[in-house]
Symmetry: C2
Subunit: 371 residues, 2 copies
């Protein structure tokens, strides 16, 4: 008989593109025993979790909840519910997750048009306006924080352009929510999704989403049913906010964790949290430059939560990351897609965004690169 040992993983310092390290309070709360999915105490807890989610999304949207899957399930839930076969969709692509939006919208039967920027650049509002003038769309999808490139996409003007054209705006906030302002109501973002395991600070497994009034109306006016039952937001919303009728058994442990992570954000305060992410990123950027490492993204568009830095000439990507993991227990990410082998991705997310962590990481990189 095969023997399976006690789980005994090396403790890692997580500075890749996610997951990030969880605060000890988040880890501990998951050991809480399960409770029934219609238990009044559980429903009360879910309701608090929704309030806390609205706070971090900076929204009053009633339809704000975590989908029971990872960030990609949030992306797919938004598209599946907002897009019907034959709908025109415009996707702004300047990285891996823009490509994924194209893929999923296509699978759900949309007529997808795309505009492209190089991987490492952001979009100007005028490009979106021009594209919508050429061909109107029901939905425009854009990534706020591109996990593959480290670009922070400004949204204020683009949101105006999209709304002036009568389209809905879908925003990917997977690598921004909880670390950088995601101003859903201020910008009138119609639908926004994220994940639990980056700046929000819980393990992977839930995908927070929020939908505004225009998006809800678009769902109510659908002609075709949503082809995914699991991601049918009207049914999921009915469990969370309506008569709590069964749709699926939401995870106790994951929702305990997300509520605790959101409670930590609430206690810290959004402004203080964003300032912390910003200050530690700047400290990292200075340190990288002192090590002769060049950030891939120019300053105004650099993400505080995820920095892409160009591989120095002559350095073996995989070998260095392996040494960092084996000798220092530090994880950083390799490049994705067209940036594979060209950049590293260094995450400073949630609990792992701290001055001491940056100091440790810079010290380890210095040792490995310059002996």
């Amino acid at each position: 008989m095969t023997e399976y040992q006690d789980l005994n993983l090396s403790p890692r310092w997580l500075h890749g593109p996610g997951p990030s390290d969880c605060h000890p309070r988040v880890l501990r709360v998951m050991a809480t025993p399960s409770i029934g999915y219609t238990d009044p105490e559980f429903l009360q807890m879910l309701s608090e979790e929704q309030e806390l989610l609205r706070e971090v999304f900076q929204t009053q949207n009633p339809l704000t909840l975590p989908v029971s899957g990872t960030g990609t399930s949030g992306m797919e839930a938004c598209i599946a519910n907002l897009v019907e076969p034959g709908d025109n969709v415009l996707v702004c692509v300047c990285g891996y997750f823009g490509e994924r939006l194209v893929d999923i919208a296509t699978r759900y039967g949309a007529n997808v048009a795309r505009i492209d920027q190089p991987w490492g650049a952001a979009f100007e509002a005028q490009q979106v306006a021009d594209a919508l003038k050429q061909r109107p769309a029901k939905l425009v999808a854009i990534v706020h924080a591109e996990t593959s490139t480290g670009v922070l996409q400004p949204l204020a003007e683009i949101a105006q352009v999209v709304h002036n054209a009568g389209a809905l705006l879908l925003v990917d906030a997977v690598t921004s929510l909880g670390g950088i302002a995601v101003e859903v109501d201020k910008h009138g973002i119609d639908a926004c999704y994220s994940c639990s395991q980056k700046c929000v600070g819980a393990p992977s497994g839930l995908a927070p989403v929020t939908l505004g009034p225009r998006a809800v109306e678009a769902i109510q006016q659908r002609k075709a049913r949503v082809s995914s039952f699991y991601l049918d937001l009207a049914l999921i919303d009915r469990y969370w906010r309506g008569d709590h009728v069964y749709h699926h058994t939401v995870s106790t442990a994951m929702n305990y964790a997300l509520r605790e992570a959101l409670r930590l954000i609430h206690e810290e305060g959004l402004e203080a949290r964003f300032a912390r992410h910003r200050a530690n990123a700047e400290y990292l950027w200075q340190g990288l430059e002192a090590l002769d490492l060049t950030p891939h993204v120019p300053q105004p568009y650099r993400l505080p939560s995820l920095t892409t830095v160009r591989l120095p000439d002559g350095v073996d990507d995989a070998a260095l990351r392996k040494r960092l993991l084996n000798e220092y227990n530090i994880e950083i990410g390799g490049g994705l897609g067209t940036l594979k082998g060209k950049v590293w991705r260094i995450g400073l997310m949630g609990y792992a965004s701290s001055r001491e962590r940056v100091t440790m990481l810079l010290g380890a990189l210095d040792k490995l690169l310059h002996g």
Copy 2:
């Protein structure tokens, strides 16, 4: 500023349709810090988890893994991958989850035919044979353990009939896996899905699935892409067993929990575990009859993991379950669908299937019903 308190839920004894209580080792392991999704130690752990899953599914199928969602995501993943628009599908419906199979297959564009049995009965192989003679199908879907009715569906003959007709057999083992034998290879079940939070003994959040060679071939021969990206099993399998290329960030905490729950099953042994579920169910059935309560399902088809029992005349369903919860911290389930208000659903699943729990539950029911 709103104050959000420490999570402080009442400890419950979970004897509804799921979730069930987790063994303390399962709860504890979730407090393990996160680790990267391509960390060699994590990939090694996932590989062990797959071995353990094959053991409980009684299969050698290489494509055996937990989908990152609840049981319903496993149901949807199997249908989304095995069915193409226009395919003929036959669904056997004798409860709520048979209805759900019809719903999802219809959403994915199948031409669905159905055969029905009363809620509380099982199917005979001849009914399936007759239906397939009338109209051949690519896929036949049936529920092994109907969570809404408490019926255990024998599969041996039906599997033969389905294969003789050249169709694939899809089996819902949500309420059987880990508590009752699910003999995937012995019966040649082509695709089977379950959940983590019932007899398997972890919290909700993962959906174990296994696909046999004919099902894998059907996926390889698809003309249309799978319309769900999140549930595209070829891509998910590539992460788990192939070159580990990124598809989504699988949950650390949930997979720690599932591996530990499966390790407990491995240590107990399948035969001993099934015998325990059976013995405690029989002890429950005797006790219910002594309390003048009538099981809804006749003996040979009664599920050991979930018993439906008819409400006695004059008893207020909701009021009694509320008292059970408030005065004894015991959760049992109400009826679902056509059995709402007519039966209770009493689960004895995984760690919660024990003689002392049955004793406690019967004692509480006796007090509340007969004072």
